[in-house]
């Protein structure tokens, strides 16, 4: 179980989230887990409309999960912090986090017991409320994101949009309705096997869905390699590769 004293040390007066994460040592923070869940959900939303036809129920449930996370992150101020870190890097940050997910699902050896989300949401809500006022003041210039689509999906750098890796939520649902598929943004075109490979890599799952393969966040590795900028270059190449697959260029 998570120790109360340790939590206070994390959030007390710290502005740099990476620094606090380093202080937690072996147990991944609630914020990191939440971020990973967010990234996993975003990837699922993207992948789900590369297949035959998206399962609307599944898409709606995932989208609601994303909204829930975003609301909570908005309330505790961590949402703004991620946005202010580096302009134009927001999308890459998210993909870097996805990369952690890849590593996490491959590094299954840890077997550390990590408390489930439910306990964290209980424990952290109280603490984060009192710290949000501090973090809000440092990020006063950035408007609190209200609309999921204007924040999660929008790039600071419009050139990044070219890959269409991140589309707004309304576009995803609209595409279901779209009678005249746009050739460039036609993510419903013929199923490409590389999509399935991407799916396999990112979710660590193939035909045998045994629990062992899917420990993912349950056996979370140490959060030392998160959003540090030194990883960005190699991950940008990865991003290009992923984008190429997606738009079949």
């Amino acid at each position: 179980m998570f120790v109360r004293g340790l939590k206070r040390k994390c959030f007390d007066g710290e502005e740099d989230i990476e620094g606090t994460l380093a202080g937690i040592k072996a147990i991944p923070s609630y914020n990191l887990q939440r971020q990973s869940l967010l990234d996993m959900s975003l990837v699922k939303l993207q992948l789900c409309h590369m297949l035959v036809e998206p399962n609307l129920c599944r898409s709606v449930l995932i989208a609601n999960t994303v909204r829930q996370i975003q609301e909570e992150m908005t309330q505790d101020g961590t949402w703004q912090m991620i946005n202010t870190q580096s302009t134009g890097q927001a999308s890459v940050d998210r993909l870097v986090s996805t990369d952690i997910l890849c590593r996490s699902s491959r590094e299954q050896a840890e077997g550390k017991h990590v408390p489930g989300y439910s306990t964290f949401s209980k424990d952290f809500e109280g603490d984060q409320a009192q710290d949000s006022s501090e973090t809000m003041s440092t990020a006063s210039s950035v408007q609190a994101p209200r609309n999921l689509q204007s924040n999660v999906w929008e790039m600071e750098n419009p050139q990044e949009n070219k890959g269409n890796f991140q589309k707004s939520l309304d576009q995803i649902f609209e595409t279901l309705e779209n009678k005249t598929p746009n050739s460039v943004e036609d993510l419903f075109s013929e199923v490409d096997n590389s999509y399935y490979d991407l799916d396999t890599m990112l979710t660590g799952m193939m035909s045998n869905t045994k629990m062992g393969h899917c420990d993912g966040l349950e056996s979370f590795s140490s959060p030392t390699t998160t959003t540090s900028s030194s990883n960005c270059k190699s991950d940008l190449n990865e991003l290009d590769h992923i984008v190429e697959i997606l738009v079949e260029s």
Partner: protein, 449 residues
């Protein structure tokens, strides 16, 4: 002994009866069973698969010579119900997978069923032919036209016996009425109409009219960005032809009365259980999504299945279910992994027995669960080839949730999540159940003394 009414769980020993399907290791996806349904007498058992085929089994007459065989089910008819299609407007494939089969009550010698894929519902007539006409005047026996100038006498064609042939013909095709994927069909108790439900809309059809349907529920928001809830299942009341229910991805059930208004957007009753704040997590909504809703045979109760539980609701009490049964609560601590591998989106069905005293639903590792509503006892059984000796009694299974694992128990981490029992069916009046395990159909019966 004949079963169903008043049988208590401890009196029923379930035995293996039959298994249909191959035991090949490389199962083609087309063979995966996607729906199972007994007809109203239990004489016929239909399955639909991902390849769009329907296979109907018929129970053979019980013979005094072989009383232990208790009427086995053998193949009666096989036909291709749906073919894969391509939607050119959206550049999307339409899967031929049969989502649901529903039987019509038998009114003459022929059998009728509805089968549906994501977009199109079809009415199939299954009939027997054991006679054929012979002695036409204008055609010879091979069907070739005879030269009229060669005909010197007239004769009356006669019917002669032939080998029994069972033929399935599509009598109606109900198409182009659903933008989203059909998840449910339900035959009305008036036997003249039926409904089909997709993620956002429910349509009412008359069996005789294929070019029109009447929209009775529409939850599509004007702005799709605002979409947060979808329809997951729907069913007509077994006796009141004006009443139906539909369930949602937010764990709610709405009961509607078609007499109140043409478009049933306002429910007559709204069933929802208040959330338990101590159990709240990011996965709360997903696991509350209802995957199946079924009226009891009596029409007094509805049963719903969500990811971890089965609930029984009294139609007269909207604020909470009267009974809640844990199907596999040991998965509650694994929700993140199950979200990652998409298992959390698996849609399990649930069924009542003939007397509404026992309910059944599936789980993972080819386990399925039964709950006796009267004794509150439950049992976990497994559909596997190992337990497939004729009339072998099924041994109850148990999942070990930590601590010391006993000899016959299986630990949560050893469960095979690719082996899921999503579809089961219970004979309308006897203790005979059909359990679909991937491409195999298991039939179990209670032990004959």
């Amino acid at each position: 002994s004949l079963a169903g009414f008043g049988n208590l769980m401890q009196d029923v020993l379930w035995c293996f009866s039959q298994v249909k399907g191959t035991i090949d290791i490389g199962v083609t996806e087309a063979d995966i069973i996607s729906t199972v349904e007994f007809n109203h007498t239990g004489e016929l058992l239909a399955t639909g698969d991902k390849g769009g085929r329907v296979v109907i089994f018929q129970r053979e007459q019980e013979s005094k010579n072989q009383p232990h065989r208790r009427g086995e089910y053998n193949v009666y008819s096989t036909f291709q119900s749906h073919e894969p299609e391509f939607d050119y407007l959206k550049s999307l494939e339409i899967e031929e997978k049969i989502n649901k089969i529903r039987w019509l009550p038998q009114q003459n010698a022929a059998y009728f069923l509805l089968s549906t894929n994501d977009k199109t519902v079809k009415l199939w007539k299954v009939s027997e032919r054991d006679k054929r006409p012979e002695g036409y005047n204008l055609k010879d026996e091979d069907g070739r036209l005879r030269d009229p100038s060669m005909i010197t006498t007239l004769r009356v064609p006669v019917l002669r016996p032939m080998d029994l042939m069972v033929e399935a013909t599509p009598r109606r095709v109900f198409a182009n009425a659903h933008t989203y994927h059909i998840n449910s069909i339900s035959v009305n108790s008036d036997y003249e109409t039926y409904m089909s439900a997709d993620d956002l809309r429910i349509n009412l059809w008359n069996f005789e009219i294929t070019n029109q349907s009447f929209n009775i529920v529409d939850i599509k928001p004007a702005n799709m960005e605002e979409l947060t809830e979808v329809i997951t299942a729907a069913e007509f009341h077994p006796h009141h032809c004006n009443t139906f229910v539909y369930s949602s991805s937010k764990g709610t059930i709405r009961l509607c009365d078609m007499r109140a208004s043409a478009l049933c957007d306002r429910h007559a009753k709204f069933f929802e259980e208040p959330e338990d704040p101590s159990n709240r997590s990011f996965f709360s909504e997903i696991i509350s999504s209802i995957s199946d809703v079924k009226f009891s045979h009596s029409g007094r109760y509805i049963m719903t299945r969500d990811y971890l539980t089965v609930k029984v609701w009294d139609l007269n009490m909207e604020n909470r279910p009267i009974e809640t049964y844990q199907v596999h609560d040991y998965l509650r601590s694994k929700l993140c992994s199950l979200y990652e591998n998409d298992c959390i989106f698996d849609k399990f069905e649930c069924v009542w027995n003939g007397s509404d005293s026992v309910i059944m639903t599936g789980s993972y590792n080819n386990f399925f669960r039964m709950f006796d509503r009267n004794t509150k006892r439950d049992v976990t059984l497994e559909a596997s080839r190992e337990n497939s000796k004729p009339r072998a009694i099924l041994k109850p299974r148990k999942v070990c949730v930590g601590g010391k694992r006993r000899k016959d128990e299986i630990s949560v981490d050893s469960l095979d999540f690719s082996k899921k029992i999503l579809h089961t069916a219970w004979h309308p009046s006897e203790n005979i159940i059909a359990v679909a395990a991937t491409n195999n159909l298991y039939i179990f019966q209670d032990k004959v003394n």
